[in-house]
């Protein structure tokens, strides 16, 4: 395992992270003693077959779930025992999420979707909204609704939304999973651009091209970190 002690530039630091789910009378060990770091400015891909624990890992790192055991630190602070309210605040202010299914609200316009996390945070984000829409090349689509967009455009909106609160970490779950190859490559290029600008990115993917674009890969198998590369 490639575990290094806490360093000042670690955004994520996981030590012996374990998640056990009950399934009927059985206990499923979805993540087993996983230890790894993600340093500031890194672009890391989590790879592995289906059922390897990628989604569980993203849930834990994204503070959407609590580990059964182990230590998880975010920017040096332990987060495994946070209350639901504290986890919500952390997700809102420190983490941006990109989903495979885009997760756009169909009744909102592009601009309203992008501004949603800022709305939850009670912030005005007009300037940041314009900047992000321009960055993802959708400033001309700001008043359109999701059903009027292509898959690639929807994922760009989701990426802009993930960045509206200026989080230090971007988490993405199969961001190219619902896109054709060409559109997927444009999304990979956008991730690379964002990473070059200093954003830390952790992405769970089966997409070889996306995994290669990442500077580092963490491969999971049966809930364990198999081959840190």
């Amino acid at each position: 395992m490639n575990h290094s002690p806490d360093t000042n530039d670690a955004v994520i630091s996981a030590v012996a992270l374990t998640k056990i789910y009950p399934r009927g009378r059985e206990q499923v060990r979805a993540l087993d003693n996983a230890s790894f770091d993600v340093r500031r400015g890194e672009f890391v891909a989590i790879t592995g077959p289906s059922g390897a624990g990628k989604t569980t890992l993203l849930n834990l790192v994204g503070c959407m779930d609590a580990p059964t055991s182990g230590i998880l630190k975010f920017l040096g602070k332990p987060v495994q025992d946070l209350t639901e309210r504290e986890r919500t605040r952390l997700r809102r202010d420190q983490i941006g999420f990109v989903f495979q299914h885009f997760g756009l609200l169909p009744t909102l316009t592009v601009a309203e979707n992008v501004a949603l996390p800022a709305f939850f945070a009670g912030r005005q984000a007009a300037g940041r909204l314009d900047e992000l829409l321009a960055k993802v090349g959708l400033d001309h689509r700001r008043d359109h609704r999701p059903h009027e967009l292509s898959g690639g455009e929807m994922q760009r909106v989701a990426i802009a939304r993930a960045l509206i609160n200026q989080p230090p970490l971007l988490l993405a779950d199969e961001p190219t999973g619902n896109l054709d190859r060409a559109t997927g490559e444009s999304i990979i290029a956008l991730f690379e651009q964002l990473n070059r600008e200093g954003l830390t990115i952790l992405v769970a993917t089966h997409n070889v091209a996306l995994a290669r674009a990442a500077r580092r890969q963490i491969e999971l198998g049966d809930g364990r970190v198999v081959v840190p590369k």
Binding site: T55, L58, N59, G62, M64, D65, E84, R85, T88, R89, R91, R92, D93, F97, F99, Q100, H101, G103, L105, P106, T107, L108, E112, A115, L116, P117, F119, F120, A121, R161, N165, D173
Partner: protein, 393 residues
């Protein structure tokens, strides 16, 4: 964007389903509004009508007092009569300030138009203190005091000699015209008591006596004395205050029944709203999970779903109040056909507080109906957003 605007967006997603749900609330609220408005309108109408009559006690022939009151107030041909000599005994009772004898009948002309003739003496003016007369009260044979509506309908002027509608070979002279009273008097033709008795062949007979007391607080004593006098066995003494309360009690009993129906309808509508929103929450589980993942707190989600529910209920209530008001004439006509006694005033009256009470009621209903779906939505886990398929709540 505000929370209210965000919640209103939901209506766009399933406009038909949301509208049908709101329609359920609208129907229940319309029933509630009609009921409350009717209660106020009916009570005010009966009270105004009795006030316009100007009497504290109505003395009528034996029979149903409600029928008699209805005939005296609205005008009709009476099936039986009082002997005029009873008037002497009524006037002799202590506490009676004015006893105004009345002979009333209704006739129909060839076009089936009803005309009500009311024979009275000058002392009727002691009761009808709200009357404003253009011209004079008739003091000579053949003189007429006509209601504003009938004067306008026939184009009659003061001093004009006219044929009495519905009565063959009888004429009279318009001595005065009543200013509009907004009551049945607007459609009556008043004439001297003796003239009425003669024209309609009921000499020395009356249809009713209007009694005004010197002291209204002495009503019970006066009524007891009237019932105890020699003529008491042959006449029905109806205290109008008691009549009012009896009619109100009867109507209130019916109102309670309809109130229960309206309440049940409202509860069913609330359950319908709750069920619809619960269904919507289940369908939107992943979307709610996305919002949670993006930083919406459990309280935020609760507030959003609760606002959506309240919005459906309040919108439905406002539509229901509007529909009830627009349909009030039709409802009123139907209600009149079912009631044994109804005043000429509007039965269903628009009142802001009634409308506001209905909307507040819907607000409370929406708050209660929204609690369960909002609570369930708030429990959706943020990781629902990342799962491959949207899990049911």
């Amino acid at each position: 964007m505000t929370w209210l605007q965000l919640s209103m967006k939901e209506w766009q997603r399933r406009p038909l389903r949301t509208s049908v749900t709101a329609a359920g609330v609208a129907i229940a609220t319309a029933a509630l509004f009609s009921l409350l408005a009717f209660q106020r309108g009916y009570g005010n109408g009966v009270r105004n009508e009795l006030d316009r009559l100007g009497a504290h006690v109505l003395v009528v022939p034996k029979g149903c007092p409600y029928d008699a009151a209805s005939m005296a107030l609205h005008g009709a041909s009476w099936p039986c009569y009082l002997k005029e000599q009873y008037l002497v005994e009524v006037r002799a009772v202590a506490g009676v300030a004015t006893a105004a004898p009345v002979f009333m009948t209704a006739v129909y002309d060839a076009g089936s138009t009803q005309t009500v003739y009311v024979g009275v003496e000058t002392n009727i003016l002691a009761l009808k203190r709200g009357w404003r007369i253009e011209g004079n009260f008739p003091t000579h044979d053949g003189g007429l005091l006509v209601g504003s509506e009938i004067a306008q309908r026939n184009g009659w002027k003061i001093g004009q000699q006219v044929s009495l509608p519905g009565v063959q070979d009888q004429t009279g002279t318009v001595a005065g015209i009543l200013a509009p009273t907004q009551g049945a008097d607007d459609t009556f033709i008043y004439l001297q008591l003796a003239d009425a008795q003669r024209i309609f062949h009921h000499t020395n007979e009356l249809t009713h006596i209007l009694v005004r007391l010197g002291d209204p607080d002495a009503l019970d004593q006066v009524v007891t004395q009237l019932r105890g006098c020699d003529a008491g066995l042959a006449m029905n003494v109806v205290p109008l205050a008691h009549l009012f309360h009896t009619i109100q009690s009867l109507v209130n009993s019916t109102r309670v029944l309809f109130g229960c129906v309206a309440l049940v309808a409202l509860l069913l509508a609330g359950m319908g709203v709750s069920n619809t929103i619960l269904m919507a929450v289940a369908e939107r589980a992943r979307e709610i999970g996305v919002m949670r993942a993006l930083g919406a707190s459990q309280g935020d989600i609760f507030r959003l779903i609760w606002l959506e529910t309240v919005q459906v209920c309040v919108s439905g209530a406002m539509a229901g109040v509007a529909v009830a008001f627009l349909a009030s004439r039709g409802v009123e006509a139907w209600v009149r056909s079912k009631l044994p006694f109804s005043p000429t005033d509007a039965l269903i009256q628009w009142e802001w507080w009634v409308a506001a009470a209905c909307v507040v009621c819907a607000l409370v209903l929406g708050s209660l109906a929204g609690f369960l779906p909002a609570w369930r939505a708030a429990r959706v886990l943020p990781m629902t957003a990342i799962r491959a398929r949207g899990d049911r709540v």
